[in-house]
Every structure is written in structure tokens, then in C-alpha cells.
Amino acid sequence: MLRGKVFKFGDNISTDLIVPGRLAHLRSNLPELAKHVLEDADPTFASRVKPGDFVVGGSNFGLGSSREHAPLVIKMAGVSAVLAKSAARIFFRNAINQGLPVLICDTDKIANGDELEVDLGAGTIRDKTNGSLLIFGKIPPVMLRILDEGGLIPYVQKYGDIRV
């Protein structure tokens, strides 16, 4: 069970808002880069987020660049999952490869600051603040197996191959 507080963002949170190109020189210094996570969307996010918290977006979360540093620094901030109405393809795949769940659900029903409980196995999101229960879309089996291993690197270390 994942538990934490909601940091709510809008539609179209691009990878440039999560980890901008002007900080490209920090990409080989991940702890330093992580201090800037989502800086251009909310400059106070990095200092307020606590382990277990959720990043909740609207539609098309993570659009733009293929930079895997985007889900990577969100995970490094301690975020337990990203929730969105929809996610961009590369971001979604990168997040799973980093072991960060991206859950597709109707995030209009979730408000900033809400307390959530997410049951990855049952596929449910309980909003303890407003009492609602949301169901998130099924993660494809091939990606679920990668997520279960904690990402693509541990998966390949274990199996030495890609199995679908």
C-alpha cells in the first residue's frame, strides 16, 4: 500500500518543466539535479515533497523529450507514484523502467493536498480526504513484470533477456 499527500499539477506537464535543458550539465550529478525537480512548474515542490507523496497531473503528463531524468528525479524525490488522466508514451515507459508507477485515472476528482492510499495490486486509489474510491487503468502485463522487478535494469539482471 502506498500512502502520501497529493501535489497537484495541471495538463501538459512537459519534461522541460520537470527537468529543463538549461540544467543539462547536472545530468551526471543526479542528487544535484533532483533538487530542481519540477522547478519550472512549482519552484516550492522540491522543498515540500515528502517520501511517499504523489505527483498528480492532468492530461498528457510528461510530454516532450525522451530524457529519462524526468521520472528519475521524481522518483529520487521520494514520490511513490505519478497519477494522471493520460501520460505521454516515452515518459510512461521511462517511468516503468525506473520502477516508478504511473497510474491512469480521473484525476479531476483529486485535489491538491489530499491524502491518498494506493493499492497497486487491487488497482484502487482511496482518497482519504474526500472519501472517494478511484480505479486506475491496467498496466500492460509486460510492463507490470518490469515494474515488479523494480525497473528494467533489475529485470534484465534477473532474466538476462526480454520476455513478453
Partner: protein, 417 residues
């Protein structure tokens, strides 16, 4: 049931009869990385326990995003990539060779191939009929290590582009129009497949511009048929053996279709901060700009510099507009010098940047000041993209950028052509 281009390529490569929605495991014909995603790719490869890339002739590294490096940290990243390429025997395209996507098109990609790039604009090679898609560092690390990857076979949106473009209207205007029509997530997870008589008549340069921006509608690939234009492009680069004709089946099953009449299109401009926020250039007349940037993997090819030169020859940039020109590759720069385009552009007041990504992504070479606006021929205008979240980026064709550089404000290029 017939097959779309995506289904055809993935069936052929996986050895199974796959259709949209299936998962295919396919061999990787080319895996590539660049200097801002590459260091993580190398580290993930090392972490995976894989020792050697599956086939060093199918792996390429490009130093293009920060080129030449503006900072010691990025210089160290370049050193890491150079030493990985040397140790593994992979291809290396060093600083000054050009943007990865242009070099992939010029030197490496072929129809029907599976190409994975650690860069979202890897879709560019779809112009040659390659199933080319952008992935993150880890996927590319594993793809080059195992020599294969998994892909969900995408549903396809057919884009039918018919008729002739008006003078002053280009492939860039067509793709901006399409993205505005279907939205920045209008093709998420899907294949955009281009067809119609306007596509048949399009040069490879124009096809590359359109395929390049497929990802701005969320698409996994932007596929063109492989035809006489593809054959001619490969032949001119001594790569005739790569040619393979490729077309979708006439009874292929499409999720939806978008029909565009080329003659009705006008010069388009995407307003800040999204590519799908496009309107006609006419509607933005009078919008002040401080910088015009002509270049990138979207519009930094010879034809693009030629259009800009034809508008700027014998004229001067507006005194309050910096005019930056970034050729997409060394070959483009050499050809543009040969044709006199560089001379004309420099005389008009342009700064010629080294072949590479240049000002596109906010690492160097043309970062905007607070409140400034740039009219760029690149593919992205997200907030902060060009290095400053307090600035504004408009996207347009090289003709619109050149005409606006003269006027000091956004104009419809047909006014000066």
C-alpha cells in the same frame, strides 16, 4: 485484413503476423544516443551487467546537443561517450558533425528498419520508412545490449495530404496545422502514417520535417512510404543497397483518418507554450520578436537554408532581431556554402552556428532574456525550452522566420516573396 506501414514493418521484423495492440519483440537495426541522454544510457548499460553491445556496427553516439560544450560538466559527459564508443567499437559522430537525426537520415537509416534513439525526435527517420522511435536511456541501453526490444504495435491514424501547396507554404506549415488539429496528445501511443499525392511529390527534406514533429502530437512513429523519392535520396548518398519499396496495403485498417487539402493551407505559427497552439501567421502580424532561429533537425537542411537565403539576399535583418542559423549537419553547411546561401545569410546579418542542435534546447548558443520572444524553426516551444522560462517561443517555417527577421515582427512570408 491488410496492414498499415507499422504493422507491416513490425510483422516482417518480428517474424509474426502482428496487428495493432499486439506486443512484438524485434531486432534493433540501429540504436543511438546523444550527449544529454547518452551518459545515463552508458551508466544503465554498465549497471545491467551486459558487457558488450550486441553489434557495435548498429550502435551510434552523437555529440550534438551541447556542441561545442559550454561547460566542464558537459565536456566530461562527452569524454565518457567518446571512451564508451572507443571501448565498444561503436560509431561516434563528434562535435560539429551535426544533429543526430539528420546524420541518421544521411548516413544510417533505411526503409523497414527498427531504429531506437535516446531522443524523442528519433521519429525523424520515419521519413525514410524506418520504424524509428524515441525511447529513454534504459530502453536504449538494453536495446543495444540485447540487440532487440519490445514494442506494442501501434494503432494508426492515416494523414491524407492532397493537392499542391501555395507559394510560401511548406511541409512545416502542414505539420503545424495537423498538430493543432489533433492536439499535442492527439496521436499518443499511435502511428501517424502519411499518404496522398502531396506526400508522393514531397522531397525527403520535407518528409523529414513532417516525420520529425510526429512526436509533438504524441506519436510513437511518423511513417512515410518508401518510394522513388526514398530511392533517389539513398542513391545520392551512396546507399542504394538500403532501398526497399514499402507501402501500406490498400485494405489496411486505420483507427481514423485526417484529410488535409494542401492548397488551403497558409503559413502557420505555433504560439507559446505548445506546438498545438498554432494559428496562421497573418493572425499574429505585429507580434514583436527579438531573435529568429533557423535550423535544427526540423528545418536546418539545405532546402531550408535556401528558402531563407532567397528571402534575405540583398537585405538586412531588422536591427533589433538577432538572426541565428544552425545547419543540421556538416554536409548541409558545405552544400550551403557551395550554393552561396551562407554568404547571403551572413551578409543579411546572420550568425552561423556550428552544425548541431544549437539554440533549440536551452543549453547554449542563443538563450533568450526575460520577456524576449524567438521565432524558431525548431519543433518545441515548451516554457523554458530555450533556456529561460521567462521567455516566449513561436514555431514556424524557415520562410516565416526569415521574413519576420526582416520585419522585426511576425509576418506572413508571402508579403515579401
Amino acid at each position: 485484413m491488410g496492414k498499415t506501414l507499422a504493422e507491416k514493418i513490425l510483422s516482417q521484423k518480428s517474424g509474426a503476423d502482428v496487428k495493432a495492440g499486439d506486443i512484438a519483440v524485434v531486432p534493433v537495426d540501429l540504436a543511438f544516443l546523444q550527449d544529454t541522454t547518452g551518459p545515463l544510457t552508458v551508466r544503465q548499460f554498465q549497471a545491467s551487467g551486459l558487457k558488450k553491445v550486441a553489434d557495435s556496427k548498429k550502435v551510434a553516439l552523437f555529440l550534438d546537443h551541447a556542441a561545442p560544450s559550454p561547460r566542464s560538466e558537459l565536456s566530461n559527459d562527452h569524454m565518457l561517450l567518446r571512451s564508451f564508443a572507443a571501448e565498444q567499437g561503436c560509431m561516434l559522430f563528434d562535435v560539429g558533425e551535426g544533429v543526430c537525426h539528420q546524420l541518421v537520415a544521411e548516413h544510417l537509416a533505411g526503409p523497414g528498419e527498427i531504429i531506437l534513439g535516446a531522443d524523442s525526435h528519433s521519429v525523424t527517420a520515419g521519413a525514410l520508412g524506418a520504424f524509428a522511435t524515441g525511447m529513454g536511456s534504459t530502453d536504449v541501453a538494453i536495446g543495444m545490449g540485447l540487440g532487440k526490444t519490445w514494442l506494442r504495435v501501434p494503432e494508426t491514424i492515416k494523414v491524407n495530404l492532397n493537392g499542391a501547396f501555395q507559394r510560401g507554404v511548406y511541409a512545416k506549415d502542414a505539420i503545424l496545422y495537423l498538430i493543432a488539429k489533433i492536439g499535442a496528445d492527439g496521436a499518443t501511443y499511435k502511428s501517424l502514417e502519411f499518404g496522398g499525392d502531396a506526400v508522393t511529390g514531397m522531397t525527403m527534406s520535407e518528409r523529414l520535417t513532417m516525420a520529425n514533429m510526429a512526436v509533438e502530437a504524441g506519436a510513437k512513429v511518423g511513417l512515410f512510404p518508401s518510394d522513388e523519392v526514398t530511392k533517389g535520396y539513398l542513391k545520392a548518398r551512396g546507399r542504394s543497397t538500403k532501398y526497399l519499396p514499402l507501402a501500406p496495403d490498400t485494405d489496411a485498417c486505420y483507427e481514423s483518418a485526417v484529410n488535409i487539402e494542401a492548397r488551403k493551407l497558409e503559413p502557420m505559427v505555433s504560439k507559446p507554450h505548445s506546438a498545438d497552439n498554432a494559428v496562421t501567421a497573418r493572425e499574429l502580424k505585429g507580434t514583436r520578436i527579438h531573435q529568429a532561429f533557423i535550423g535544427t533537425c526540423t528545418n536546418g537542411r539545405l532546402e531550408d537554408l535556401g528558402v531563407a537565403a532567397s528571402i534575405l539576399t540583398g537585405k538586412k535583418r531588422h536591427k533589433d532581431v538577432r538572426l541565428l542559423v544552425g545547419p543540421a549537419s556538416r554536409q548541409v553547411l558545405l552544400d550551403a556554402m557551395e550554393k552561396g546561401y551562407v554568404q547571403a545569410l551572413v551578409q543579411a546579418g546572420a550568425v552561423i552556428l556550428p552544425p548541431g542542435c544549437a539554440a533549440c534546447l536551452g543549453v547554449h548558443q542563443g538563450i533568450l532574456g526575460n520577456g524576449e520572444a524567438c521565432l524558431s524553426t525548431a519543433n518545441r516551444n515548451f516554457k523554458g525550452r530555450m533556456g529561460n522560462p521567462e521567455s516566449y517561443i513561436y514555431l514556424a517555417s524557415p520562410a516565416t522566420a526569415a521574413a519576420s527577421a526582416l520585419a522585426g515582427e511576425i509576418v506572413d512570408p508571402r508579403e515579401v516573396m
